[in-house]
Symmetry: C2
Subunit: 515 residues, 2 copies
Amino acid sequence: MTSAPPSGPGAFPKPSLAGSQLRRLGIDTGAEHVVYLRRDSPICRSEGFGPHSRLELRAGNRCMLAALNIVHAELLGVDEVGLSESAWQWLRPQADERVMLAHPASVDSLADVRAKIYGRSLDATQLHDVVRDIVLHRYSHIELAAFITACGGDHLGLNEITALTAAMVDTGTRLHWPQAVVVDKHCIGGLAGNRTTPIVVAIAAAMGLLMPKTSSRAITSPAGTADTMAMLAPVELDEPTMRRTVETCGGCIVWGGSMNMAPADDILIRVERALDIDSMGQLVASVLSKKIAAGSTHVVIDIPSGPTAKVRDPAQAQLLARLLRQVADAFGLQLHVLISDGSQPVGRGIGPALEAHDVLAVLRNAPEAPADLRQHALAVAAAVLELGAAAAPGKGLAMASQCLASGEAWARFQMICAAQGGLRTPGVAGFRQPVTAPHAGRVAAIDNRRISRVAKLAGAPSAPLAGLTLDVHLGDAVAAGQPLFTLHAQSPGELAYAMEYVSRHPCIIGVEEPR
Amino acid sequence: MTSAPPSGPGAFPKPSLAGSQLRRLGIDTGAEHVVYLRRDSPICRSEGFGPHSRLELRAGNRCMLAALNIVHAELLGVDEVGLSESAWQWLRPQADERVMLAHPASVDSLADVRAKIYGRSLDATQLHDVVRDIVLHRYSHIELAAFITACGGDHLGLNEITALTAAMVDTGTRLHWPQAVVVDKHCIGGLAGNRTTPIVVAIAAAMGLLMPKTSSRAITSPAGTADTMAMLAPVELDEPTMRRTVETCGGCIVWGGSMNMAPADDILIRVERALDIDSMGQLVASVLSKKIAAGSTHVVIDIPSGPTAKVRDPAQAQLLARLLRQVADAFGLQLHVLISDGSQPVGRGIGPALEAHDVLAVLRNAPEAPADLRQHALAVAAAVLELGAAAAPGKGLAMASQCLASGEAWARFQMICAAQGGLRTPGVAGFRQPVTAPHAGRVAAIDNRRISRVAKLAGAPSAPLAGLTLDVHLGDAVAAGQPLFTLHAQSPGELAYAMEYVSRHPCIIGVEEPR
């Protein structure tokens, strides 16, 4: 006991942190960083930490915020600090490295989020600060949810969407290309199948355009473009290999996840999907930030519109198209928007390998190639060729069709695959079962969302050969017992599980009885 | 491989769940339920579960939604299902009970939350559905954050606040009392100290009113009323013991946490505090739902207003008072609002035991009793006596003062403590250190928030003797080196840690140099 006043920051010892040895606990909590401590650990006692305290961890010059889980049992030593998988990968501690734990400094940009909740507009500086703190993982998941909700319901104005897009580009890597024209395409998702990208890249590159395509893996869908492409060639390329591929072939189709382009988008999108909140402003910022960061100058956006697609009707598609154009203008990005038919899946296969088979069939001009996928890929390719000035206005479709029919596109695709590490042949799942029409009639509706759900229950995308193939299209006449679609699975359990769902949801493909 | 069509829900076996043995992992994740599975477990493989999937668990007739964490390492057997502490307590599995896991049915009320995000008003049925699902723990933390954010920024209208209040009452236990008049009091927090409740209950009960007080433990403050009262008597009473206490003594001061009154509030408030979002509508619903659920008919609400209190200025206090009255009217609740001085803490001690010492000193008419606490408690008691018609208008203060001065209040308090299980004497912390004025001058400001922070760093409330005592009030003249406040801690480490914070924040108590 002493009565001396504090004489400065150094006068009182901090509680000793010696012995705060890091331990990888092997718990994958998703994207949120979690740190584990024992309740009776000196650090919990001295700092008054409890479950869901936020902590700041420092190791060397690396810093991280994390949520605290308190461990009661003997999972940890009393002096140990456990890390979740994402926390371990973020902090990347060296062997025997020790960690400092403290109450985190307040995250000042949260005041901007609160201002937004109260209906105020945020300026470019405020949005930049918010996005920077998000990229630094300084926001908890509930804080991310608050930001997304505050911006949801179309509460973002045009200036805010533009500033959010810029902030998302500026807080990540931005690729630069020597060419003046760099083309790209993007499809506003929600439609099963529809795997046009490899075909479009092959045609655009064959016709002399530069199309360095980075794609994502599936988050909630049965396959992302990167998942499908991974069935055909390596997609996890480092930047030098990707650049070499683009230089030699004029294009590539790689996974963008390792390139840190618009990383805020990857963080926000997971929470948006978990909340199932579709905000047009955030969608525009998400799509355009990735394109700008990839160095694209001319982008075709495909918006399928249909009752079970992401965009439900043409009016909503027009609104979205206008907003995309307005924001693209602010960045000097040339945009062409295609509003396409989103009433049913495009192509036959749903799932990484099954979609890859469709892509190969179209590229090879195989007789069994799905005509709808071929036609839609040609329409997108035509728009890309015209926007990139490889084809004169109105001449894109003829050029694309000729490129495909002549085998040039297939040759270019093989060249790209070789440069990425070698063309692969996708396999076929061992367990298959058709789902048949309960009665004769005409195919009246195909539920995109449930089709995707079934493909996922069958194992896609983590079981890459799994998914389903469609045996009919809208309007087809079918006989009772005729296959509507066929499930593909890599294990009997997954097949059974998907079938159980199908049996409970008879209207995945609706067959209208003849009158 | 078969080509038979599905013949009904029973035709395809569900993947076997035999072997899904529950295991308590001893991880406290806070309020959010978490379930742990190995990535290679049959259930993860067959259902396609991944980190942050939401799962439905069923054991017997109990059902629970939980977030999934994937365990890589050898923390679990491949057939085991690990549960976090809150999940274990919610599901309360019997020995060797097995659990069924499945994709959760969709939570329909989330559509109402989305509607609210889009600016639509919710009606009573919608708000009831939302609150019911929250109480059933069907909302994830990010979904709670979305609901709170959508209602924040004063986006709730009067009808919505009333409906939210009703829903919060209806989804929990509601106490009923035979008496026509049941008084209560509540203080809108943010002010350190200010522990008037035990004094007010003693006076009201001694003067013949019924005051069955249920209080909370601290969530983010250094002490809740239940924490302080626990220093003086047992507070974790079952309902029969509480009712016996109220019948024999006319009042009680117990912890309300075990009584399941307005349980949605407890869930929402944790997320609100973590987000640091103050929404007036949610505050009103939170306060009034607890009072209505407790069976109160006449309630005095104390709103301290000051620059570092929860309510920053008198205009805001008036707005809040009006909203409280309007919603109370809808429930036939008689309300009296006191707007008090929130410019500095009330009383000397901050922390459970230190506040209990203040309460005892006032009740015993000790010469060292803090005059401000005595005066404020009498003002609240006077309002309670008048609102409950124990005192004529304008006569409450004289009656309360007489009751306290005569020892009647102290006698009643001892009687209440005896009925609750016996009066206790709070101890004194072993490690104390004064913080002194850096120079002579006048005390110009006391930062409530930092005072609370320091008390918590010293160990309050989990170290119940810890906290601080104030040695000065606003306006006091002090000499250089004169104590401003004194830290109390139960360990040297905690004392050092609080002092370290004090040394970095010299303006916790601002001393203005004489001109």
